[in-house]
């Protein structure tokens, strides 16, 4: 990871970026409309390694620090002005084979007025980005789902979704790392190991990672 300083050395916040207090030992960074929180998070990793913990959702980053030895005003300034474009960060790209056998696949096709073949073609034709992990360890919210497949969550969530289920809801696609309750539409199955506590890093899909899906042979 390399740091290339902004040659103009102007410390102005990008449009829409705000930094607010989140209790006494954390700051909440809200990103502007043209930014990806995951990109800002990776830049924070490089530029401000002294923070205790930092994690994100699609448009926000929570930065936790040790209040006893942190200059909060300085940290606030740094978080307000940090530009991902000033840093070269490494992101991984993955291609995951999927069996398109989900219980909701036909229903999804019907609602989109498409055939199942069309749905599979749309899903495998897109490139996805991990916006953030949340909900449970290794559960990644992927953006990049084609608009034709955007659907609200199920009216009645399932009590149990099997591990490995590939699902969609709103503008996200996700794979359930472990069995859980859930209200997303099930379109397929992945045999990838999404989370392993013995592995470093433990999550396969991490903020910034790009993903494509292909039909499993």
């Amino acid at each position: 990871m390399t740091f290339m300083p902004n040659p103009h050395n102007q410390a102005t916040p990008p449009a829409g970026r705000t930094v607010t207090k989140y209790g006494s030992d954390a700051l909440l960074v809200t990103c502007g409309p043209d930014e990806q929180a995951a990109d800002v998070l990776l830049a924070i990793d490089v530029a401000i390694p002294t923070v205790r913990e930092a994690h994100c959702t699609e448009h926000a980053i929570l930065v936790q620090f040790n209040a006893a030895n942190t200059d909060v005003a300085l940290l606030t300034d740094q978080l307000a002005t940090i530009l991902p474009s000033d840093f070269a960060t490494h992101v991984e790209h993955l291609t995951l084979p999927i069996r398109y056998d989900g219980d909701d696949l036909t229903a999804v096709a019907d609602r989109a007025h498409l055939t199942v073949t069309d749905v599979v073609a749309l899903h495998t034709g897109a490139t996805y980005t991990v916006a953030f992990d949340g909900f449970s360890p290794g559960f990644a919210y992927l953006t990049g789902l084609p608009p034709e497949l955007h659907l609200p969550r199920l009216d009645s969530p399932r009590a149990r979704i099997p591990a490995g289920s590939v699902a969609i809801a709103a503008h996200y696609c996700a794979i359930y790392p472990s069995a859980s309750a859930g209200g997303w539409h099930l379109i397929g199955t992945s045999s990838a190991e999404l989370f392993n506590a013995q592995r470093n890093p433990p999550a396969l899909l991490r903020p910034g990672t790009t993903v494509r899906f292909e039909v499993a042979k």
Binding site: T20, Q64, F132, R206
Partner: protein, 307 residues
């Protein structure tokens, strides 16, 4: 040297200062819910404490819910019980003589001695530390049990033989002066700082404070402590509370969410790292330690701390 579990009581979990650095993978910090009592218990038996955020987590102690834990030492050692108000009995010698012991003090256990922790009369959680610390297998840098995602050691069961590290011989009887949790008869005062949610919850502050006191729901656990208003949920906090994945916000333990049914949830150590309901405030570590001792049915009062 090992500690044998004869009875795990209501629930016994191994907890240390928690996991740090994995929130971005959806992994909550876990760790002791009442960090203050956990820290004091370890100090009493002479264990050096690694706090949250340090490279190493630890040392692990048993977090006991409500009471009923019975254990046996296989070799001479020292333990301490800190947290809720409870009776502690030591049984030792060939006749299993019973000796009354105090919480917040070092307790010497000779080989074969047993410890019986009674049922908490006041408070909710107890921390049982041993000289040398418990040493289960670590997961992601911590020996803590995450009750939601099942990371870390399993909850303790009868027959478990817990490995213990080598303890120092120093004991800190003076730590016992700090051990007793504050006894309150009225509502527990909880300091809440206001998170400025981008949806503009500024006017919610007065509503939340005006809605005091809040009652701790029996559905509370390490994932979160739910609060409701007595007399039903007629008073709903003004604002948009529908869960929206697209407006998920990152959280840490102590974050306070407002639910559509009028309840509040204080995120606990095993709680989710992101959430779609609005975060209306954050309670500080001190208050979180106190909340860990709040029994279902007890009341809390939210007190504003600056902004």
């Amino acid at each position: 040297m090992s500690i044998k579990i004869l009875d795990p009581g209501v629930q016994s979990l191994l907890q240390d200062s928690g996991r740090n650095g994995y929130a971005r993978f959806g992994v909550p910090p876990s760790g002791a819910f009442d960090m203050r009592s956990w820290r004091i218990a370890n100090h009493i038996v002479g264990n050096a404490v690694h706090d949250t955020g340090e490279q190493r987590s630890g040392p692990a102690a048993i977090e006991l819910l409500l009471g009923g834990l019975r254990l046996e030492a296989t070799e001479d050692t020292s333990v301490a019980v800190v947290g809720a108000h409870v009776d502690v009995i030591r049984l030792s010698g060939y006749g299993d003589e019973k000796h009354s012991e105090q919480t917040g003090h070092p307790i010497t256990l000779t080989a074969g001695s047993r410890l019986h922790v009674g049922r908490a009369l006041r408070g909710l959680r107890l921390y049982i530390a041993v000289a040398g610390g418990f040493q289960p297998e670590m997961a992601l840098g911590s020996a803590s049990t995450d009750t939601v995602s099942r990371l870390g050691p399993n909850p303790l069961v009868k027959g478990d033989l817990l490995r213990v590290g080598i303890g120092s011989h120093s004991r800190s009887p003076s730590a016992s002066l700090l051990a007793a949790p504050p006894a309150t008869d009225g509502p527990l005062g909880i300091r809440i700082a206001w998170a400025v949610d981008s949806e503009g919850f500024g006017r919610t502050n007065a509503e939340l404070l005006g809605a005091n006191p809040w009652t701790v729901s029996p559905t509370s656990n390490r994932a979160g402590v739910r609060l409701y208003r007595d007399g039903g949920n007629q008073t709903k906090i003004h604002g948009d509370h529908e869960h929206r994945d697209g407006r998920s916000m990152p959280m840490h333990p102590g974050a306070v969410q407002a639910l559509p049914n009028g309840e509040l949830v204080i995120i606990g150590p095993d709680g989710p790292t992101t959430g779609g309901y609005p975060v209306v405030g954050v309670v500080d570590r001190d208050s979180l330690d106190s909340i860990a001792q709040a029994r279902p049915g007890s009341t809390l009062e939210l007190l504003a701390v600056g902004s």
